[in-house]
C-alpha cells in the first residue's frame, strides 16, 4: 500500500484525537483572534439598544441542553443587554427540556443588574407551540396565568400593562428547532411585532430568506453570532472563548478534506495509469 493509499484509509481514531486537540488546546491557550461584527447581529443589538427604558421584550428560549454551547451564551448576552438598557424582559419557552435552562439563564444574566418581578419575569414552559403563540396575540394571561414559580402574573409588577403583542416591542426567539418559523407566521406577520432570532449555526442558513424579506429584524447565528453579540456589549463570555477552538477545528477539518482529496486524485490517477 502506497503512502497516498494509506492516507486515504486513515484510522478514524486519529481524526477524533486531532479534533479533540484542536478544541482543547485553544481553550487552554487562547489565541484571541478578532471577531468581525456582521450586519445581521448588529441589527439585533441596535434594535434593543434603541428601545426606550420600560419597553417590554418577549424572550422565548426554545432550546435544550444539546444546543447549550451555542444558544446559552447568546441568550445570556441578549438578556444582559436588555437588563442594562432597563428594558422589561418576559421569558418563556416552548420546549419542555428548556424550562429549567430558561430559569437558569435569566437568573444568571440578572446578577447585579436586574431584579426578578421588577425588571424581568420567567413564565416557564407552555405546550403546543404555534397555538400558544397565537393565543399570546389575544391575551398572554390566557396562556400563562402564573409564572414559573407559581406566582399569579397579575401580581408581577413587570407584567403590568402587558396584555398581548401590542404591548411588546420585540420578540426574541432563541431556538434550536423550527420555532422561529412559528413566531414569524403566527406573531410577526399577523400582529406586526418585530422578531429577532438566535439559532444554531447549522440552522442559521435556513432563516436568511426571512431576514431578506424583513420578516426578521436580525439573526444571531451559532457561537460566532453569540461572540459578536458579546463583543457588542463589551464582554468576553463563553462564546468569545470558544471562537479560537472553533476556528482551529474548522481549519483542521478543511486540511483533512484537502489531504483526503489529494489522496483520492493521486490514487485514481495511479489506477487509471495501471489500467
Amino acid at each position: 500500500m502506497s503512502f497516498w493509499e494509506k492516507i486515504g484509509s486513515f484510522d478514524r481514531r486519529y481524526i477524533f484525537l486531532l479534533i479533540a486537540l484542536t478544541v482543547i488546546i485553544p481553550l487552554l491557550l487562547p489565541i484571541g483572534m478578532s471577531i468581525t461584527i456582521t450586519n445581521e447581529v448588529k441589527s439585533v443589538y441596535d434594535y434593543i439598544d434603541a428601545l426606550p427604558p420600560g419597553s417590554a421584550i418577549l424572550v422565548s428560549m426554545d432550546f435544550d441542553p444539546a444546543s447549550l454551547a451555542e444558544l446559552y451564551p447568546m441568550t445570556l448576552a441578549v438578556l444582559k443587554h436588555a437588563y442594562t438598557k432597563k428594558v422589561r424582559v418576559v421569558g418563556m419557552t416552548l420546549w419542555i427540556t428548556g424550562a429549567s435552562l430558561g430559569d437558569m439563564v435569566m437568573k444568571e444574566a440578572a446578577e447585579g443588574i436586574a431584579e426578578v418581578d421588577k425588571d424581568y419575569t420567567y413564565l416557564g414552559f407552555v405546550p403546543s407551540g404555534a397555538v400558544a403563540i397565537m393565543r399570546i396575540g389575544q391575551d398572554i394571561s390566557s396562556v400563562f396565568n402564573v409564572d414559573y414559580n407559581g406566582k399569579p402574573i397579575s401580581e408581577i409588577p413587570v407584567m403590568k400593562g402587558i396584555k398581548n403583542y401590542k404591548d411588546i416591542s420585540l420578540v426574541v426567539d432563541l431556538a434550536a428547532g423550527s420555532t422561529p418559523e412559528a413566531w414569524i407566521i403566527y406573531a410577526g406577520t399577523p400582529h406586526r411585532v418585530p422578531i429577532a432570532i438566535g439559532v444554531t449555526a447549522v440552522s442559521a442558513v435556513g432563516y436568511y430568506p426571512f431576514l431578506n424579506a424583513k420578516q426578521l429584524i436580525g439573526l444571531i447565528g451559532g457561537m460566532k453570532g453569540a461572540a459578536e453579540y458579546e463583543k457588542l456589549i463589551q464582554t468576553s463570555g463563553a462564546a468569545s472563548l470558544g471562537m479560537d477552538s472553533q476556528s482551529v477545528a474548522h481549519t483542521a477539518i478543511i486540511l483533512l478534506i484537502i489531504i483526503a482529496n489529494a489522496s483520492y486524485f493521486v490514487v485514481r490517477r495511479k489506477k487509471t495509469a495501471e489500467s
Partner: protein, 218 residues
C-alpha cells in the same frame, strides 16, 4: 358512520377555520378553538409517556438485550418526576441540581460527538468526484473558513497590504454573499415548495381525499 363522522367533522372544522379568518364575529369562536387545541395537546404528553412506559416495560418483561437501558429509563423517570413533584423544579432545588449535573452534561456530550463524526465523515466522503460535488466542497470550505474569525485572520496576515486595504474582510463578505444570494434562493425555493405541498395536503384532508390520519392509510 364510523368513517363518515370523522370526515364530516374534519370538513366542517377545516372550512370553518378558513372562513372565520375573513369574518370578524367568529373571532371569539376561533379563540375558544385555540383553547381546545391547547387542551388536547396536554393529553398528547400523557399518551407519549404511556407509550414510552409500555415500550420499556415490554423490553424488561421479555428480557431483551437492551433491558438494562429500559431499567435506567424507569429509574430516571421515577426519580426526576418524584423529586420535581415534591421539591419543585427551579434553580436551587434537587431537580435543578440533577438537571444541571446529569442531564445537561449528558445531552451536551451527545451533541458534541457530532464534531468528531462530522470530521471523520468529511474526511472519508467529501470528494471532488463531480462538478456538483466540487462546487459544494469549495462553497463549504469558504463558508467554514469565513464564518469563524480565522478566515479574516488568515486573509489579513497572508495577503499583501494593498489587497487587505482593498477588502479587509473579503472572506466574510464572500460567505455573506453565498448565504444571501445562492443559498437563500435555493432555500426560498424549498420553502415555497413545502408551503404549496402543505396547502395541497390540507385541502385534500379537508375534502376527505387524504385519510391516512384516520389510521393505517385506509
Amino acid at each position: 358512520m364510523k368513517l363518515r363522522l370523522p370526515l364530516l367533522l374534519c370538513f366542517l372544522c377545516g372550512i370553518f377555520m378558513i372562513f372565520q379568518f375573513f369574518i370578524p364575529p367568529f373571532t371569539s369562536v376561533y379563540d375558544k378553538l385555540l383553547n381546545w387545541v391547547m387542551i388536547i395537546s396536554i393529553p398528547a404528553l400523557v399518551l407519549g409517556v404511556s407509550s414510552l412506559i409500555k415500550l420499556h416495560y415490554t423490553r424488561i418483561v421479555r428480557k431483551t438485550p437492551n433491558m438494562p437501558y429500559s431499567i435506567v429509563v424507569f429509574v430516571a423517570m421515577i426519580v426526576m418526576a418524584s423529586i420535581g413533584l415534591i421539591g419543585g423544579t427551579g434553580v436551587g432545588t434537587w431537580f435543578g441540581w440533577l438537571f444541571i449535573n446529569v442531564q445537561i452534561p449528558m445531552q451536551a456530550t451527545m451533541f458534541s460527538l457530532l464534531a468528531f463524526y462530522v470530521a471523520s465523515a468529511a474526511y472519508r466522503a467529501f470528494r471532488a468526484r463531480t462538478l456538483e460535488a466540487t462546487l459544494m466542497l469549495v462553497t463549504a470550505v469558504i463558508v467554514m473558513l469565513a464564518r469563524v474569525p480565522i478566515g479574516d485572520f488568515l486573509w489579513q496576515h497572508i495577503m499583501p497590504d494593498s489587497v487587505v486595504q482593498w477588502r479587509a474582510n473579503l472572506p466574510e463578505d464572500v460567505a455573506g454573499w453565498i448565504l444571501n444570494v445562492p443559498s437563500m434562493a435555493a432555500r426560498r425555493g424549498i420553502i415555497l415548495g413545502i408551503s404549496l405541498g402543505a396547502i395541497a395536503t390540507s385541502v385534500k384532508i379537508i375534502l376527505g381525499i387524504e385519510r391516512s390520519y384516520m389510521g393505517a392509510g385506509e
